[in-house]
Symmetry: D2
Subunit: 351 residues, 4 copies
Amino acid sequence: MYNFKNDYAEGAHPSILERLTKTNLVQQAGYGEDEYSLQAKEILKEKLGNKWATIHFVSGGTQANLLVISSLLRPHEAVISAASGHIFTNEAGAIESVGHKVIAVPTKNGKITSADIEKTLLAYQLKPHVVKPRVVYISNTTEVGTVYSKTELQDLYTQCKANDLLLFLDGARLGHALMAPGSDLLLEDVSRFTDVFYLGATKNGGLLGEAIIFNHSAVGQEFEFVMKQKGALLAKGRLLGVQFLSLFEGDLYMELAQHANLMAAKIAKAIQDSGHQFLSAPQSNQLFPILPMPLIQKLLEKYQFYIWQQVDETQAVVRLITSWATPEMIVDDLIKDIRLYKQDEVVSNPS
Amino acid sequence: MYNFKNDYAEGAHPSILERLTKTNLVQQAGYGEDEYSLQAKEILKEKLGNKWATIHFVSGGTQANLLVISSLLRPHEAVISAASGHIFTNEAGAIESVGHKVIAVPTKNGKITSADIEKTLLAYQLKPHVVKPRVVYISNTTEVGTVYSKTELQDLYTQCKANDLLLFLDGARLGHALMAPGSDLLLEDVSRFTDVFYLGATKNGGLLGEAIIFNHSAVGQEFEFVMKQKGALLAKGRLLGVQFLSLFEGDLYMELAQHANLMAAKIAKAIQDSGHQFLSAPQSNQLFPILPMPLIQKLLEKYQFYIWQQVDETQAVVRLITSWATPEMIVDDLIKDIRLYKQDEVVSNPS
Amino acid sequence: MYNFKNDYAEGAHPSILERLTKTNLVQQAGYGEDEYSLQAKEILKEKLGNKWATIHFVSGGTQANLLVISSLLRPHEAVISAASGHIFTNEAGAIESVGHKVIAVPTKNGKITSADIEKTLLAYQLKPHVVKPRVVYISNTTEVGTVYSKTELQDLYTQCKANDLLLFLDGARLGHALMAPGSDLLLEDVSRFTDVFYLGATKNGGLLGEAIIFNHSAVGQEFEFVMKQKGALLAKGRLLGVQFLSLFEGDLYMELAQHANLMAAKIAKAIQDSGHQFLSAPQSNQLFPILPMPLIQKLLEKYQFYIWQQVDETQAVVRLITSWATPEMIVDDLIKDIRLYKQDEVVSNPS
Amino acid sequence: MYNFKNDYAEGAHPSILERLTKTNLVQQAGYGEDEYSLQAKEILKEKLGNKWATIHFVSGGTQANLLVISSLLRPHEAVISAASGHIFTNEAGAIESVGHKVIAVPTKNGKITSADIEKTLLAYQLKPHVVKPRVVYISNTTEVGTVYSKTELQDLYTQCKANDLLLFLDGARLGHALMAPGSDLLLEDVSRFTDVFYLGATKNGGLLGEAIIFNHSAVGQEFEFVMKQKGALLAKGRLLGVQFLSLFEGDLYMELAQHANLMAAKIAKAIQDSGHQFLSAPQSNQLFPILPMPLIQKLLEKYQFYIWQQVDETQAVVRLITSWATPEMIVDDLIKDIRLYKQDEVVSNPS
């Protein structure tokens, strides 16, 4: 049984474990002051083309989200998110737990637009009886696998600045977004067109870790206090430093994301060729094809994946996720199984 | 320069890295449902002699403290801690951040007694104008390196039960406490005489990780929700599972703590032999000797450690910490340097 | 200009001010232990037919909501509310501020049904990645002026009990709901078919005050602590006690609500007679008629009220609220102005 | 039995009730936008000699404290208070409930000095493992009845400004402090030498109410949101507006405080004349005399007051509080009873 449920079913890219082993007994300062963390941050700042950036490494996405948002907001302020946004749906109330409302905006494809912001601001005018929107939270890739173009991000940022809003990008799968076929968005653009964002390692080759990047000094001041207070400051920060060093000193991070995307694209093509539709157009390493139930049942005998939502009695949307570790051989098997079903069906239909 | 500042300056025990490497590409369920975590929990329950225990692995001590305390308390309830307790002094307001007051109790040696509880309860009678004490937090070893005897823990637990209080033990260094020379406290006792406690790996051979153990079903219900909400649920829970499996399937955890204690005891003996006093009697891997300033200056040329508090112009308390990774050779060097100073002094004094 | 914007534009029913004046210099215990509060609570318990009830007086509705909800929920638990519910729309994030998500349920008329609960529970199954629904919050009258029948409330309560949910009724306008023409719901029913509710005085003749009623001992334990902690415990609790005593020792509370309802019903009839529609059927003291813009403009010359939402260029929904203090003479004026417009229109149409 | 336990045992100054009655049926805007509130704020600003001040009326002291502090602090910041400070001892964890640690400073007489600040800042250097002190909270009069001189307040403010700290003065009994015999502190000084403070009406002639004053625009922005969110924004803000108008349009507020102080001074003199000592020197309307137990027992037959702390078997500190409503006749009776005891004793002693 191969698992297409998520992109965190394996451990880490082997080079990370090797480096952890090699540096294991070198004594280092604690709490993120180790030399690997410091070096990784310098490298990242260079890749961002942003010397004003301040960077912090934390363990996971929910943690990153609650830390950043609680550091940005005053008590009465709120965060705008797509209704499909991770902070609204799948973080067990993390943002509310630190005192803030998440204002959910319905979207077509998981992406927030300038118009969504405008509409939301209009709906939150009855001061002081409503919360005050102050942060816009977006994910790239989104929770349905779509990606923002450079123009989309720039427009959104311009809209935010015009309305004294901060733009925060959840990059748990930012590598996959940047390496999406046809994407014109660069890492430097993300640093220019957001106030704060993070680059996720957990879902792209790390054991754990997200690199939070504050792009300018108006945000993120004294963030270490908030990290310590919320239990996010690891005594052995080297664990995070070594990983980001391995992922970013060369191009490993982008290569791993590209591999995941390529594997997904191969599967997507096979599905399309077989005449199936998608809930949202395939762009990155998450696929949401609409498949007939018999095919789904057949695939579930050999592969693990989630049935995302039932369309009707005969078909359902499923979610297939590839990762840095997905073997091409398994992908080819899956494709064969998908195509095979189609042939069966074609044969049986005439009778 | 060898670092005696803390017990988290190195990575992990090599066997942990080996096992992480060996299991790296085995696909596993996320969020703590991996087979290593499940197996490690079974082993732990057996070692505790407590089949009712429920166990959760988290990343660090501050995180463990805020998760446990926020899961135990209603909004108006508070936690009693020694004034030297980590939650009161060194967690950047983590407990207050989740809404609760920490009631600080002055102690002689970092340990809370039955009498302290009684006195505190008397001082918090003016309902509803005061907070309601509900949890007692203790550390073992304490922040000054002392340890609780079995009788001390049992007395405290009896006092807690008599007053409808929950007893929570911070075991960031519980291995060192249990392996302290002369300690009669067993792991099973800790599970019997507390409501909840944790076993720390971060400071005893792991990369990160604390195993939180709820000893009975009246506490810890639905704890996974709280973990997820506070950003403590790792997608790759295998990272924690593999570590606790390595540390507890045999006796590694206790052996590593014993090594740290032995190294400290050797140093302590040399210091005592040289005629120096201690702030608190040496019991575990943290030493608080009172040393003359010239000796301190001399040692600082070769070793890193904290000057804990100035006693007067001629002497200060310093903190020396040994760990699972402290090489005996370095300890012997340090001892030589300590004894050497004494001889110099002896020689020079008569003149 | 007469104000139909809300039901809190005047002070208090004169008998309340008289009683405050008469008892003014009698020394009383503070913090709700005064004899007026104690007596008012006894009277209320009798009227509820519920000797197990515990009662607390607080200053306002938002305060009551956040106190009750924070006392009922553990950190990971959430409250279900209609999307039109006051806690979701108009309390500046009060519930999120005490750490909890409000799960918004779209409704047709502001009322939550058993089916809504069932659907919500189904959507919140992915433990521990989602919040856990634990409280259902309803308003009666609702924010759009509708009322729950006895059967509706009983069904909802049965559904809650079947799913281990607590039912909390916001009764800021409960008097108006109970006195609504055709309502079969009695005060005793509310005490039987909810876990906790409150009776609002602020909008029904008091200067300020809501009486929170916990119907059984499984809820509301140690509530005074929470009141004190959130700044809700008045030093001079007599101010609230005297008011509830005045409102409930006889039938004043119900009489005042009935007056408000009657005034609204007169206006509603005139609007209907004039051929206008309503957003929701008029049931209590809040009316949401759909009026032509010229009529609205005309009325705004003499009366204050909110334009609730624009329907199209020619008409809008407006909100008219009557209160215990609304003079019948003003209502008759308003009716005349409404009918007059209709006549004008009738006259002008044939031409 | 006359009650000397506190200064909130009666209702309000009669002129307040009269004005409430007189204005009762005038329709007013809600939520603090009524004309009485607006007018009272203008008058207050003039009396403060501070046209930049922004003013908000809330219900009580605990509420004022938690609102102000939560509006001033970021999550990791903390408030410094005397160990006897109300927020540390008697507010059921209100400040912790909004997420912040209260750093308690031991004092001799309830007053914080520049030196206390310096010492505290030194103790909180271990960034980011400790909270960051940001607000200094003081009470005037203090919880033990002492008052700050102009120089003391100015020194403290200078120290705060030198260390980027905000100074917040709890003025639940500020009238009594300003009218204390020998006090050189003026209301204008308080507005100049603090960042934010409040003037309490609850304990000085009002039914309820504290006027929070932010002295400059760097603090208190968007405070209405926080008020609404924490349940502090009264729908009928007129109730507070009318009271502050009555208390401040003339000199009533200061006159009422002066009366309380005078009554206390008379009692204090009699106690001193009778040879008894005080825990802290009598300065305002709270007295802490040390009395022999037989006298205490005798007085308790006719008067209610708190035994504050037992000194030894023969004597105890008691707390006597006078108010705006304390009748001089009762004070004279009390004095007679105190002197009488002394005479008895004098008579019996020689034998």
